[in-house]
């Protein structure tokens, strides 16, 4: 029997708002534990939540970017469960009326486009962090647990996909695309290693062609795209093997172990957990007016998929379009400006994704590009095309531009890098080289191609390396044939 994997992904995104979801404490990473806390995010008696408007705008933008419907009215619910790093022992979350619902995200796998449904995106608050001390840091063996509530109350958006993904590779592509959409919106720093974006996968398998869903397993603890792909792949294999051997899948949560490359059972769910959801009485319903939604929609930046499509329409190769689209906004702006200044899109993209990125990596420059802009990149490309500089000289020019030494022509002149492309000037040099090598013409005429290379070399030598080799080659052949 052939088994078909059915995968859905739940993504938690910490928003990068100035303050927390329901209080005025700062949102930041690092720092001393329990320094960004107040009565509200510590769950002190009597403290009350107040909704952060910026967080609601962020989730609305995420929803709009994912083609979601924005609920005109949405409510917060309390999700009740006891946990030491959950200060109120309930999480303010959303239940049946999320801010966003019914959207989609287009992904591309092996050149094929896939549309993945988004069930919902809802708003909630993050928990604090438990730090288990002693005996390997595992919860069950820990000697003591320390609690840091700096993260408590940080705005969290949960995006739940429909079970539309059919392979580990698709799961990874979805997660990467979603991350790039959120990065584009600038609402989160989407740093996997900091946990500002976290992925859980719901995995099941079913006989190919079946409409029924198999028993699903929730897989947690993937901290990179690679581990997401590996974990999902492993889980699909595990379930398939289990079913093939006549066993059955247990509905449970499994923990991905990066080192051993397998998932371990964390807890078996008996039916669904009872979180005793009820409307949060300390908050009033959110009302999202059509004007508010429209205003945010109008301010949405270009999404990565739209951008790739635009690049393709400009004639870029698909691989270049993908890489360029992933570059930072400053570099992409240079591309757009260079094209506007008349540069060929592919050439501009090649420079940016190749030499420019390499130079930046070498120089470990994080800051703004000092000298590079669209017009001077376009000029550099034009100089190469016209044979005014050699390709190796062009690389040197680029480094000069990026170091802030000026425009390409200016640097080329200063460093004497311009090639001799004047036919009249070259004629004389070629004639004298041919006069010095009388046998060469004869050899060429008798079919000795090698001699051309020798002659070009002599001419380049005579011009101090400044002749345009292509032009020399062409003129030489004309003279010897003629």
């Amino acid at each position: 029997m052939t088994w078909e994997p059915v995968i859905g992904i739940e993504v938690h995104v910490e928003l990068m708002t100035a303050s927390k979801m329901f209080c005025g404490c700062e949102v930041a990473h690092g720092g001393q534990p329990n320094t960004r806390v107040c009565p509200t995010c510590l769950g002190l008696p009597g403290a009350l939540p107040v909704t952060n408007r910026a967080a609601i705008e962020s989730i609305m933008s995420i929803g709009l970017a994912l083609g979601c419907q924005i609920s005109p009215r949405s409510v917060f619910h309390r999700k009740n469960y006891f946990y030491a790093d959950l200060p109120k022992n309930y999480q303010i979350s959303q239940f049946d009326v999320p801010v966003c619902h019914d959207g989609y995200l287009d992904i591309e796998v092996d050149g094929a486009a896939r549309r993945v449904g988004i069930e919902r995106a809802h708003m909630e608050e993050d928990t604090g962090k438990s730090i288990h001390i002693g005996l390997g840091g595992r919860i069950h063996a820990a000697e003591r647990t320390l609690l840091d509530f700096n993260r408590s109350g940080v705005p969290l958006v949960e995006v739940v996909s429909r079970p539309d993904l059919r392979s580990a590779v698709e799961a990874r592509a979805y997660a990467q695309e979603l991350r790039s959409v959120i990065a584009e919106l600038g609402v989160s720093d989407v740093r996997l290693e900091e946990g500002s974006i976290r992925f859980d996968a719901n995995v099941s398998v079913r006989p190919e062609g079946s409409e029924q869903l198999g028993t699903k397993v929730e897989v947690k603890n993937m901290n990179s795209f690679r581990s997401l792909e590996r974990a999902v792949g492993h889980e699909v294999e595990r379930q398939t093997a289990l079913l093939e051997s006549g066993g059955s899948v247990v509905q449970e949560t499994r923990h991905w172990d990066e080192e051993s490359g397998v998932t371990h059972s964390m807890r078996v769910k008996e039916g669904s957990s009872d979180y005793r959801y009820f409307t949060e009485p300390d908050l009033v319903p959110l009302v999202m007016s059509p004007e508010w939604v429209a205003g945010l929609g109008a301010r949405l930046p270009e999404m990565p998929a739209e951008r790739r499509a635009r690049y393709l329409s400009q004639g870029l190769a698909p691989s270049t379009a993908g890489v360029l689209s992933g570059l930072d906004p400053g570099l992409r702006a240079v591309y757009d400006d260079a094209v506007l200044s008349g540069a060929s899109p592919q050439a501009a993209a090649n420079w940016l994704t190749g030499e420019v990125v390499a130079w930046l990596r070498r120089s470990e420059a994080d800051g703004p590009l000092t000298g590079l802009d669209g017009p001077n990149l376009a000029e550099l490309i034009e100089m190469v095309d016209d044979g005014a500089v050699s390709s190796s000289a062009a690389k040197e020019l680029l480094a000069g531009i990026m170091s802030g030494e000026g425009g390409p022509r200016e640097i080329a002149e200063r460093r004497d890098l311009l090639q001799v492309s004047d036919v009249g000037q070259l004629d004389g040099v070629i004639d004298s080289v041919l006069a010095e090598n009388p046998d060469a013409v004869g050899e060429f005429r008798s079919g000795e191609e090698k001699v051309v290379g020798f002659l070009v070399g002599q001419i380049m030598k005579a011009t101090g390396g400044k002749a345009d080799p292509r032009l020399v080659n062409q003129l030489l052949r004309e003279k010897m044939t003629g």
Binding site: P45, G46, A84, N89, F278, D282
Partner: protein, 486 residues
């Protein structure tokens, strides 16, 4: 002693008394009566003396922060006070000192009020007799064998005895009005959302509302003017225009339509209560009101619905008391066990009962039949009220079906205890204002309260009627069981 806070304010400003003298009188009364009443959990003599001295200095400098400046105030111990122990009457918060002031406390401090101390209450405001306090019961100043009502029994007893001229309480299902009635003082629950709940240790968030205990109706209106108003820290806080509660006090009631709630009479209501209520209705009619019998059938089921909604919210609100961050901690081998032991030891039986009740009614499979159904009843109560207020300006009833009952009489019968608030709960369920005014004593010399209810933000007309009730009753607050005057 000053007749009330308005009277004291006049004396302070005319220089006839000082804030310090007023406070010493209050502290003196407290020291004479506390052994009998046990109305306070904490008396902050030192802080109060500083505040009173400051008020005197302010008056000397011509600085006047308004009607509560220099007035001795007592706060129910579920209102957070920075630097002053706040227990909510529970063992689980023994020794807990909040790092911040509740918004009402802040408003009182800005108004120059002198905070005398924190008053006793049923644990987490759950009860109708102040017998559920982990720190022992409070007794009624009119008869020490009887309860003061609850849950804000401490504030009611303190104001009746004169250890403060203003008490603050919280009213989730009658917790201000019922004890005010049983102690013979004025008690008022404002429209939901008009007094900030920030810093009130929550019982049932959608029902809780802070309000004043005073010796006169005018005092009540004045106190309300200071404590209410929009608070950005409470999302349920009303942000619109507030009525002036004082404006109608001298207006009289001629031409007003007063609705008598049919359902709040008859079985379960003591003859003495019914007689006094009937007598007051006759007086009001003579004063010019038009009496209208109004039936609000949902009042019959309000209590049942209340006992699904309030415990449900409480079960979640009280989850934070887990021994992890503050308050009592009972160690255990695991975190779960630590939490379970802390809660088992820290919560009293009534609180435990309501947490269990609430947890059950929110559980999957029961939610719709219990919590969901109760919310539908709540909506129906609001509709009932709306229909009634199409016909009348205010609704009236007894505040409590009985006068103060014997201590211990209802402690073993939760349902009998719950019925104490039958007249009060509908206003909480609808979020409407309601208040009680003492109108007389029954044959055994115990106070009887008269309840006035009004539509949302109808505080002005409610006080207008309450002021007339007060004039008609000419009730004298003179608790007979404690020595209140030197």
């Amino acid at each position: 002693m000053a007749a009330g806070l308005a009277d004291a304010g006049r004396l302070l400003r005319s220089g006839e008394i000082t804030a310090t003298a007023l406070l010493e009188e209050a502290l003196g009364t407290a020291s004479r009566t506390e052994a009998q009443l046990h109305a306070f959990l904490t008396i902050d003599s030192e802080g109060a003396r500083e505040a009173a001295a400051q008020a005197d200095a302010d008056f000397a400098d011509g600085v006047d922060f308004g009607p509560l400046h220099g007035i001795p105030v007592a706060l129910k111990d579920n209102l957070c006070t920075r630097g002053l122990e706040t227990t909510a009457g529970s063992q689980i918060l023994a020794g807990y000192v909040p790092p911040y002031d509740a918004t009402v406390v802040e408003r009182l401090r800005h108004g120059g009020a002198v905070i005398v101390g924190k008053t006793n209450l049923d644990e987490f405001a759950m009860g109708s007799s102040t017998e559920n306090s982990a720190y022992g019961p409070t007794y009624n100043p009119w008869d020490l064998s009887r309860v003061p009502g609850g849950s804000s029994g401490g504030s009611a007893a303190v104001v009746a005895a004169g250890s403060a001229l203003l008490g603050l309480g919280s009213d989730t299902g009658g917790s201000i009005r019922q004890p005010a009635s049983l102690c013979g003082v004025v008690g008022m629950k404002p429209t939901y959302g008009t007094v900030s709940r920030y810093g009130l240790i929550a019982f049932a968030s959608s029902l809780d509302q802070i309000g004043p205990f005073t010796r006169t109706v005018e005092d009540s209106a004045i106190a309300l003017s200071t404590i209410w108003g929009h608070d950005p820290l409470d999302s349920t806080s009303y942000a619109g225009k507030y009525p002036d509660p004082v404006a109608g006090l001298e207006r009289g009631v001629d031409g007003l339509k007063v609705g008598i709630v049919t359902e709040l009479s008859g079985e379960g209501f003591e003859p003495g209560v019914e007689a006094a209520t009937g007598d007051m209705l006759g007086r009001l009619e003579k004063a010019g009101v038009q009496l209208v019998e109004v039936s609000l059938p949902t009042f019959e089921i309000a209590l049942s619905a209340y006992y699904l909604i309030a415990p449900a919210e409480a079960s979640s609100n009280l989850a934070r008391f887990d021994g992890i961050r503050y308050g009592l901690r009972v160690e255990g081998p695991t975190t779960e066990e630590l939490m379970a032991r802390t809660r088992a030891e820290g919560f009293g039986p009534e609180v435990t009962r309501r947490i269990l009740l609430g947890t059950y009614s929110l559980s999957a499979g029961y939610y719709d039949a219990f919590y969901g159904q109760a919310q539908r009843v709540r909506a129906a109560i609001q509709e009932d009220f709306a229909r009634a207020y199409d016909l009348v300006d205010v609704l009236v009833s007894p505040t409590s079906p009985t006068v103060a009952f014997e201590a211990g009489a209802r402690t073993s019968d939760p349902l009998a205890m719950y019925l104490s608030d039958i007249c009060n709960i509908p206003a909480n369920m609808a979020g409407h204002p309601a208040m009680t005014v003492p109108i007389g004593l029954d044959d055994s010399g115990l106070p009887i309260g008269f309840q006035v209810m009004a539509p949302p933000l109808g505080e002005q007309i409610m006080y207008q009627v309450a002021a007339e009730v007060e004039r008609q009753a000419a009730f004298v607050i003179a608790p007979t069981a404690v020595q209140v005057a030197r």
